[in-house]
Amino acid sequence: MSELNIYKPYLMRIEKIIDEAPGIKTFRLLFVNEEEGKNFSFKAGQFGEYSVFGEGECTFCIASSPTRKGYIECTFRQAGRVTTALANREVGEIIGFRGPYGNIFPLESWEKKSLLFIAGGIALPPLRCVIWNALDWRERFKDITIIYGARTVADLVYKYELEEWSKRGDLKLITTVDPGGETPDWKGEIGFVPTVLEKASPSSENTIALVCGPPIMIKLTLPVLAKLGFKPEDTFTTLENRMKCGLGKCGRCNVGKFYVCKDGPVFTLAQLNTLPAEY
Amino acid sequence: MSEFEPKIVAFVCNWCTYAGADLTGTSRIKYAPNVRMIRLPCTGRIDFMLLLKAFDQGADGIIVSGCHPNDCHYTAGNFHARRRWIVFRSLLDFLGIDTRRVYFAWVSAAEGAKWAELVNLVAEEIQKLGPYDEYKNLMSRGIE
């Protein structure tokens, strides 16, 4: 059984493939072994090692919500050897999955708080997992705001869900594209995420901010959040590092003495500020 | 004991030897079916690592063939290849890898018969040498 061999992945069958954007796909994966599927559970923010047998493993988050049972979803960009092999897989083929690894977004402890999700480009998947989780427990939270931007309209992922979210009354969705990335019928904002955030200026009172995006976006968004009054311990983000085992053994994902795969990938800004400049 | 069928991989240049092999076919000349041809633009593009991979994937014999000197579609591909094979062959020999299993030839687009002779000769020689177990036995060694 896989508990004995901690490197042995679950066998997963690809049930659905969605082409989100150029080079970006979403897979819905079912457990080949139902038994394993039933016993499998995870929390928002955790990641896994997805393997294409013969090519290797790659690391990204579980994009579906823990409240949705029986399957997991992942979204990835075709960039390296394994993701290229993944992108060539077809529905019905078998890939491997090891996990869940890493720590979580402490969603349960945010009852009665408001949630502000800020995502850029392909970094929406880690937050999408939390968003759907929060929406399935909608009554526990005050208001939910989502600010999501990408370089161009075509680069926006989960377009069908953005539609669905924009129609819901119980959350505020602001989508934006970088200047020049808009299309003629684009109705959303035009501008970089930090500027759109400043314009929207959601209240930081009793609010948790979750930020995920390319380093440049994080760098420019954090000061805006601070200006809006968000405290570092209420600002959450995820760190990415090269990983091979995901189990705190292979020794490569450390930032200072913290292993991103065990002490992360979710960190508060307060924690990030204590980390040495090595990420 | 099942008759040993040698696996021969042929790296051939598209303009001459591949066309030559076509000619062999169209002139109904029979030759040993053990050869698996891989077409490359020019012998100049046939990297020595391709030969290593061929042995790695279980080949017992390798043929590398392309245009005669001065016939190269890219004028100097075969000249570069010639120098490469002189150096690579001496390295293989120095390391003790069986260079009798690696054949180099110039076969032009008109030499259909020569291609057939070459393949038959190589198939026969490799048949005598038997499978390249020395290299195949390396496969599992060194993995605990």
């Binding site: 590092n241 020794g251 | 605990e144």
Partner: protein, 340 residues
């Protein structure tokens, strides 16, 4: 368990080897190979190298091999079948292991049994017994006493032999496994009487204060000048990590052919740039001084904070084989004095 002190005659080593081999165990011992000494499988004491300070490679590969199968898989059409590997490894006795190397197994074990249990490693370690050999002499690279060890330290050994004047061995039976080995041929282990073990051990004064070093290191993280100065001549190969008995970092690689393949675990080193290179091209540790800093910080600060064990046993191998003569002990002393 109470350490029993026995005497093992020099002449009865042959018999001991025979009995151990007969009991279905293989024996790994240092064997001379040109200018180097490697741990190889031996049958008789004659094959064992004599009169040397330390082997070239550590015995780490007995429990954490350089290239190891995690599992195999077969492709059947679009289906994949995973085949677990068999874990009943042949019981092994490592003979002639220096006390520093014997201590390194606990550093390896600290990682492999922290949080997730690595059964592969633990099974190999469980099947491995250590007959250590104390150090009669040391060279300028050794610094076991500075990292909590010693030329006669028994930690990690199941039986520790110390060669005394007559050439016979004072045998300290330390663990249950040691007792099992003695039980195979009890007649070879006679009562030891009083032997002054210290007399036959190398004299190795402490070179630096470990505690002070570990506490000082975090503060030096941003002292780029120091790390550049130390690592200017470092060439960025992986030799120091691969000869090191306490280096644990590994890589996972897949190798497959048409009908199936294998997932391998192999040694890796923080000295390589690929170790932390992101697919996007970003590399948190871009240049060699950051990697040298990682090597020192991991072994003397992070490892200790997380697992309570120091990631170095002071065997000196990394400095003996370094092509650029990066002398770890010298650098540690420089760090200990930095800012004094």
């Amino acid at each position: 368990m109470e350490i029993e002190r026995k005497l093992l005659k020099k002449g009865s080593l042959g018999k001991l080897f025979e009995k151990i081999t007969a009991s279905g165990r293989r024996i790994l011992a240092p064997v001379q190979d040109g200018e180097n000494i490697f741990f190889k499988e031996v049958c008789s004491p004659e094959e064992v190298a004599k009169d040397y300070i330390q082997t070239t490679l550590s015995a780490k590969s007995a429990v954490f091999p350089a290239c190891e199968k995690l599992f195999e898989y077969k492709f059947e059409g679009r289906e994949v079948k995973i085949e677990d590997r068999d874990l009943n490894f042949k019981p092994t006795v490592i003979f002639g292991l220096r006390p520093c190397d014997a201590r390194s197994f606990s550093a390896l074990n600290a990682v492999f049994s922290w949080d997730y249990q690595d059964e592969l490693f633990k099974k190999r370690l469980e099947r491995t017994a250590v007959i250590g050999l104390s150090c009669g002499k040391a060279d300028e690279y050794c610094f076991c006493t500075s990292v909590g060890g010693g030329p006669g330290d028994s930690q990690g050994s199941d039986i520790l032999l110390t060669q005394i004047g007559s050439g016979d061995y004072l045998a300290e039976v330390i663990t249950e496994k040691g007792k099992e080995l003695v039980a195979i041929s009890p007649e070879l282990f006679e009562p030891a009487g009083d032997q002054d073990k210290e007399k036959y051990l190398a004299k190795l004064p402490k070179q630096f204060e470990l505690k002070a070093l570990s506490e000082k290191l975090p503060g030096l993280f941003n002292n780029t000048e120091l790390w550049i100065e130390q690592s200017l001549r470092c060439l960025g190969c992986g030799a120091c990590a691969f000869v090191c008995p306490a280096c644990v970092c590994f890589d996972i690689q897949d190798e497959a052919k048409r009908d199936g393949g294998v997932r391998l675990r192999c040694w890796d080193s923080c000295g390589f740039s690929l170790f932390t290179l992101h697919t996007s091209g970003h590399n948190p540790r871009e240049v060699q001084n950051q990697r040298w800093r990682q090597r020192v910080m991991h072994k003397f600060s992070y490892f200790n904070d997380r697992l309570g064990v120091i990631g170095c046993v002071g065997c000196g191998r990394c400095s003996r084989i370094c092509p650029a003569d990066m002398n770890l002990l010298e650098h540690l002393k420089a760090i200990a004095e930095a800012g004094k």
